[in-house]
Structure formats: C-alpha cells, structure tokens
Symmetry: D3
Subunit: 134 residues, 6 copies
C-alpha cells in the first residue's frame, strides 16, 4: 500500500488536471501512471517534478532512448522497482531490443562490480583522467 | 593511499603482463591506469575482470559511448569518484560533448530524485508497465 | 516471507517479554510491531537495539517529530519500505500534516538529486564551509 | 579535481549571473559556493536546480532548520561529502547546536542500522502502519 | 512480475542448457533457481555470470560459508531481497546456525551505523591504518 | 577536514577517558583512532557506540576475522573509505592474507554485480528459498 492516496483524474483539482493533461499530451497517452497520481498529493511537487522531467527528458544532445537507459541504470543501482518497470517500458517503447536490454543489464552489473572493487581497493584517480584545460 | 600496492608493468609477472598487453592493445593506449594496477594484486581477479569488461563494453546493440554513459550513471549513483573520473574521460574520448555531459548529469540527478519520491511514497507498479507476452 | 520466524508475545521468553513490555510502556501502545518480533530471533540484538533506539529517539535538542523526519529521510534514501511505512505512521502520530509530508518528500528528493550532481561533477568542498574553530 | 571547470562570477554569462545574483540575494551572502559554479557549466541545469531548491527549501510546513537536517540525513546516507559539509554549515548558521548535531548523527546512524536489520530479516510491513482512510 | 520472461530448462536452447547442467552438477541440485532462468534471456550474460560466480565462490583462502556471509552483507546493504533470500538459504545449507545468523545481522547493522557516523562526521583516515610496506 | 573537532586523550573529560581506556584495554593498543576521537564530540553517542561495537564484535558463533570481513563488505558497498581502511587493517591483524583480501574483494564485487542484475530483471524469490519451518 502506498504512503498517500493516489488522485485519479476524475477526483483531481483543476491545478492537478492541468499537469495531467500536459503529461498525456506530451507523451501521447490517455492515462496517468501511478507516480504522478501519488505526487498529486502535494500539487507543488507534482508541478515542479513534471516541469523538470519534461525539460530534462526532451531530445537534446542525447536522444530519448539513451536518456531512458541512463534512467534505468540509476534506478537499478538504487533498487527502485517502480522506476525500473516504468523506464524499461518506456525504453522498449522507444525501441530498445531484448538484446539491447540484456547488454544494458550487463553494463549496469559490471559497473556496480568495478565500483565496488575500486572502493574496496581505494584506487587513487589517475592524473591522466583529469580534464586538462585548466 | 590504496589498500594494496599497485603493480606497474615493469614489476609485473608474465601472467599480469599478458593482461596489461591486451588492455593496451584493445584500447590503443600505451599505459595502464591505476584500476588494473591495483587489481593485479590478485591476478585471478585481474584476468576475470578484464575479460568480462572487454566483452561487455564491446560494440553490440548499444554503442560504446552509450555504454560509457550507463557506466557513469551507475558510478555517480554509487558515488565512486575514480569510476566517474575514468569513465567521464572515456566518454569524452568517445565523443561526448560538454553539453551532452550536462544533459547526462541532469538525467542522473533527476532519476535519483524521482527514485526517492517513488520510494518515499511507496508507489505500486502500474499493471500497464508489466511486459505483456506471458 | 521473512528470513526468520517472528516471535509473538505469547511465545516469547521472559527475557524477550521484558523488552516487549518496555516497548509498549514507553510508546503507550498495546502491540508489538513486526520489527521487534523478528529481532527477537536473536535476543541480544533485540535488547541492544531497543535500548539504543529508546535513548536516541527520546526528546533532547531535537524534538521527536524532527527525529522521525530524519529517520524517514534515511529510510527513503536506502529504499527500506518497512522503515518508511513505520516511521511515516509515527510521524503522522507525532503531528506531521499531509502538506508537511509532501514537503518532507520534496526535500528528500531534492537532496538525492543534488547529491548526484555533486558526485557526478566531483565538486570540491568550499573552504568557507569548513568549521573555523580549529 | 572536478569533472568540469567552475565558472566564477566575473567569467559568467548574463544568464548565469542572473542566477548567481538571485542566490546571493536570497541567502544574504556575497559569494557563490562551488556547487553552483560547477553547475554553471550547463546553464539550464543551473537555472532549474536553483529554482527548485529555492522553492523547496523555503519556510513552509517545515521550518528551514528542519529541512537542513533532512538534507544532511540524505547526504550522509549517500556519503556525499560536499553536501554534508555545506548543509552542516547551513544548519549551524540556522541554529543547530553542537549537541543537536550529535543527536542528528545518532539518529542517522541508528536509522541506517535498523534499515539494514529490516532488510536482512525481510520484515513484512505491519497492517497497522498502513494509512487507514482508503 | 519480472522485467523479462524466465526460461525453464525444457524451453532452453542447448547453449543455455549447458550452463544449467553445469550449475546443477556443481551445486548438486536438480533445479534451476529464478536468477539463472531470468539471466538466460541474454545467454552471454548467463554464461559469463555463471563462470565468474563459479570461480569466485569456490573454496580458496576463504571457505564457502564465509563467502556466503560476505555475499549476504553486500545484499542487505543494497536491499536486494532476492539475494538475501537465496544466500541466506545457501548459508544455512553450508552450516550457519540461527545464532550465527543473528550475529551476522548484528554486524551488518552495526557496520551500516558506523559507516553513517564516519560519513557524517567526515572522519579522516588514521595514518596508522595505511599499509606500511610502500 | 572533519565536521567536528576530534578530542585527543589529554583533552578528554573523565567520562570520555573511561571509554578511551576501555577501548585500548579491550584491543590491546595504546592509541585511540580518529573515529572515537570524533564521536567524543557527543559523549552519549561515543559510549553507546563503543558498548554496542564491543558486544557485537566479540567472538561468538562467528569468529572475529569473519566479522571483520563482513564489516568490510558493508563498508565497501557503502563506499566508506575510513571504514574500509580501518577494518582492512584489523582484518590483516586478525590474520587475513593478501590472497584472502583478493578473494574478499572478488566476492564483494560479484555480489554487487548480481544484486544489480537481480534488481534490474526484477527476479521473484524462489519458493524453495523460503524457510520451511513455519
């Protein structure tokens, strides 16, 4: 059970509905996933979080699928099941193949392994890795 | 200071040198970064880790730059400074622009934020996010 | 399913019951929540953990509600669902409003985001933040 | 060394200076700490992060000192040294006593301990902790 | 629900069956646990992960039970429920007593607590803890 | 620099000195490492933490070296450098060989990798792993 009561569209205030409408329009979907319905418990957080996410996940130097893969990498490392499920669904929708998902998981697993090895051995940063132009 | 003594090329055994040689040949570089020099303290781990990393980071469904970005996302979330420094250097070498680095950090930051919101609100996974073909 | 069998009051040893009795008396409740029933599997850990928690969560420089909010912040960051549920219940009991819960989550989310940005950019600590009186 | 070059006020664009000016005015300080100078590498992230932080950390249901304590709890749990240093400085400025800092750390430590115990024992959430009004 | 479809023995390719057969033979069991069935979605990851695990968990300087305890310590700290359940089962099979499990959890809890205290107080490493022979 | 001022023996109160004396007597050493000197900033936390640690790390079902290895596993996973350095020193003193340290790191690395794979694939717990006697 969640910590707060989700707010479905029909029970939402005009302020919340405006955010829901923008989410559906931006994503081309006709439903609001649970994350936003729970955030709606605190409208200021709902509005700010959506505005930030919309700006950050828009195509830019990095394409939308790459951004989804980055999102999944963070979510797996944090063990956030909801986030893994939702962004894996988004990544598949954005074109991630099953083999690509396998590679993604392999990279995430390997990174967590070598992060631990580096941490455990207390490896100092190589000077050559530092940005030069200073 | 590190937990173990790093092993430079000139002091390495033949077994360790063979790994060092393959690292340099595969990457087209003429030096061995500190991570491998510290892993060499336990040759079995050096060999296995390099074999795994070489296989996982090779081009496949995901291109090498994308894999570096995923690596950075994990490393930032774990707070592994060495890993952030080394993979940011690799990502720049693989073509990541400064604006791309900014977007990468924005996505990583946002993902950590929404992971926390989801966790705190205990949001249940939407049925629509579950893979269908079962 | 849990890793160990919980021990309800009626099946508890005198040693465990003494802790249970103190928990109920201290908190003014008439039941023992699952955390303690599972810890009772190892009585030494039950006793020590309760003694520590009782001392730490007592009113002091920080009031009990503030301590609950700190507890939730840690639990959300670690993704500990049980801990989030139990301390959110305690915080509500101690007077946390629904709007306050929303603000709490917003701060926790933001902190996780900026922690990641700081980690990713490897920001050095400003000298001005260091305590002066040394 | 940081991953990107910090941008001091005198080298900043008008867009960045506007954010810097608002930070100094809002906080009543005459300098820009390193976090913002590094975020300025990507102006969109600087602007959005400051706008969010300003909104979230403003007095509301929770007072500013309480928000700083929550921030520290997250930062300690993530092991973000910069964040611990900067928010501990802010908390002291907002009135946190040395004994209060000691209590804060005790609560954070205890929460990390019981989070681990709960996770290791796989304790199921008590029904009584679930919000009732559903 | 899982992110990918598990592959039971009867539906597995020859390549996957070879790994499954080796897992069962090495462990002296007649079934394949869910971890491997889900990894089989990406055969290269299945093969590499099993080869690594088989090598790492074999008796060496550290005995198999000690290795299981280390595995549990990591899994609890990461909050990985599956991993806690599977390695706790393995540790019990390898001889861990119920009192030993209690002690294990106590150490893991304490370590998470003091890690947080060290992080929060920003304690510098004592020179005497550094390895000498350099 | 640390968040609080460490308190050396000669500047310590009688209350703090009593703890310091017990630490040195219990461990057979003639100095107080930085962790305790920083905890001494808040004597109640110093006393409680030492009492807990002394009880938990004493020989029991698990021997002292095994407990040190578990401590290191948690500390590496949390990326706590001080804790890694101090407990690696303790483990070496308790007899950990260099090859044993290599194996320890290999297990910790592997556990972090498979934790991530399990989390990313959302693997459900096998019924056979659940304790039976319920």
């Amino acid at each position: 059970m969640a910590s707060v009561k989700p707010i479905p569209y029909e029970e939402a205030s005009d302020e919340v509905r405006a955010v829901y409408d923008d989410i559906m329009a931006t994503r081309g979907v006709d439903w609001i996933n649970a994350f936003w319905q729970h955030l709606a418990h605190h409208p200021a957080t709902l509005k700010r979080t959506w505005a930030s996410l919309k700006e950050i996940m828009a195509p830019g130097e990095l394409d939308p699928l790459t951004k989804e893969l980055i999102y999944i990498a963070v979510s797996v490392t944090n063990g956030c099941e909801y986030c893994i499920a939702s962004h894996t669904a988004s990544a598949r929708k954005a074109g991630l193949s099953e083999a690509g998902l396998g590679e993604l998981m392999a990279v995430i697993g390997m990174a967590n392994e070598t992060n631990a090895l580096v941490s455990g051995l207390r490896v100092p940063v190589d000077v050559r890795f530092e940005p030069k132009e200073r």
